[in-house]
């Protein structure tokens, strides 16, 4: 477990920081995931650890935003989910909607950048190197993608 933590912690924290924008809250989300694993409340299928951990961070961050309804965080919550509803049952559906929108509406490069940041937990530097563009260009691509997602879900 410690090896998994050391291997994936930085990536998990990056995903949480990018969604929550709060250092302590981001650490808490990642910590909760590992505490659940250490206690045996959660188990992972062999071979799926990295995907499980990073997806869990993304989902837990979104759920935390919805639960706490912190005013200062709602703007980003709406960016990621398009709604401030407390309907937890719809979380997975909304996440699936995001994935579907990303696949159908973003440019190929934006899809890659979006996935590298929010699914793989890559640094801006790593994304820039992979795409052969500057970090600022990466930020602007992500910003554009998030704004498109926000507008898409506002229409629903």
């Amino acid at each position: 477990m410690e090896q998994l933590f050391r291997r994936h912690y930085a990536r998990m924290l990056r995903v949480a920081r990018t969604i929550l924008g709060d250092e302590q809250e981001s650490k808490d989300v990642v910590s909760d995931i590992f505490v659940a694993l250490l206690s045996g409340r959660t188990t992972m299928m062999p071979g799926t650890e990295e995907r499980y951990l990073l997806t869990s961070v993304r989902n837990q961050c979104l759920k935390r935003l919805r639960h706490e309804c912190v005013k200062r965080q709602m703007a980003l919550a709406s960016v990621m989910t398009g709604t401030a509803s407390d309907d937890m049952d719809a979380d997975d559906e909304r996440l699936a909607d995001i994935d579907e929108f990303v696949a159908g509406s973003l440019s190929e490069q934006e899809r890659r950048i979006f996935r590298l940041r929010f699914t793989d937990g890559c640094t801006y530097e790593e994304i820039a190197a992979a795409e052969g563009i500057s970090r600022v260009a990466v930020w602007k691509h992500l910003s554009h993608a998030l704004n498109l997602i926000k507008n898409h879900f506002k229409k629903q």
């Binding site: 477990m1 933590f5 912690y9 924008g21 505490v35 206690s39 045996g40 970090r135 930020w139």
Partner: protein, 186 residues
Amino acid sequence: MQTNDNHQLFLDMQEHPENYTDSELEAMMDELDREPDVDKEWKRIRARSPLLTSLRRIAAVLIPVLIASGIAWAIIPQVISNDESNERDAETATVRQADTEGADVSPVRFNDVRLDSILGVVATHYGKAVEFRSSATRGMKFFTTWKPDRPLTDFIEGLNMFDGLQLTIQHDTIFVDAVAGKEDGE
């Protein structure tokens, strides 16, 4: 990243990057990608681990009793074993959520521990005495898990599945007998 102002700045930079200079965006990205102190965070998470917390609580309660009874030496290293072995315990314990929810204590795993030490801990928890009617069984060692929130009979039944051993509970005493024909094989 630590304050509301920074958080608002983070949100605004995402929505309106055109309002910021490249160096301002770079500074925000540096902050978001800052490498964490992994050692410190790992220690923090381990401190929150329910199993580790429970083990420490059990040790705090039982060690003074065990020291007073003179049988502490064998079991203390197992109860307060190092972080790595506790982690293995957490990974290998068969108890899952359904078993532990609402329970006050988590399972205790005995790794290669003498029977007299194991029973010293377990019997104390249930307010029982232990009587070895076969001295040969005292030194038998076991790898087993004890769930303090479960009835004593559950644990005794588990031990009775091992060869060469028969435990019975009579009133306030756990009697330990060797099973004829099996003890030699141990």
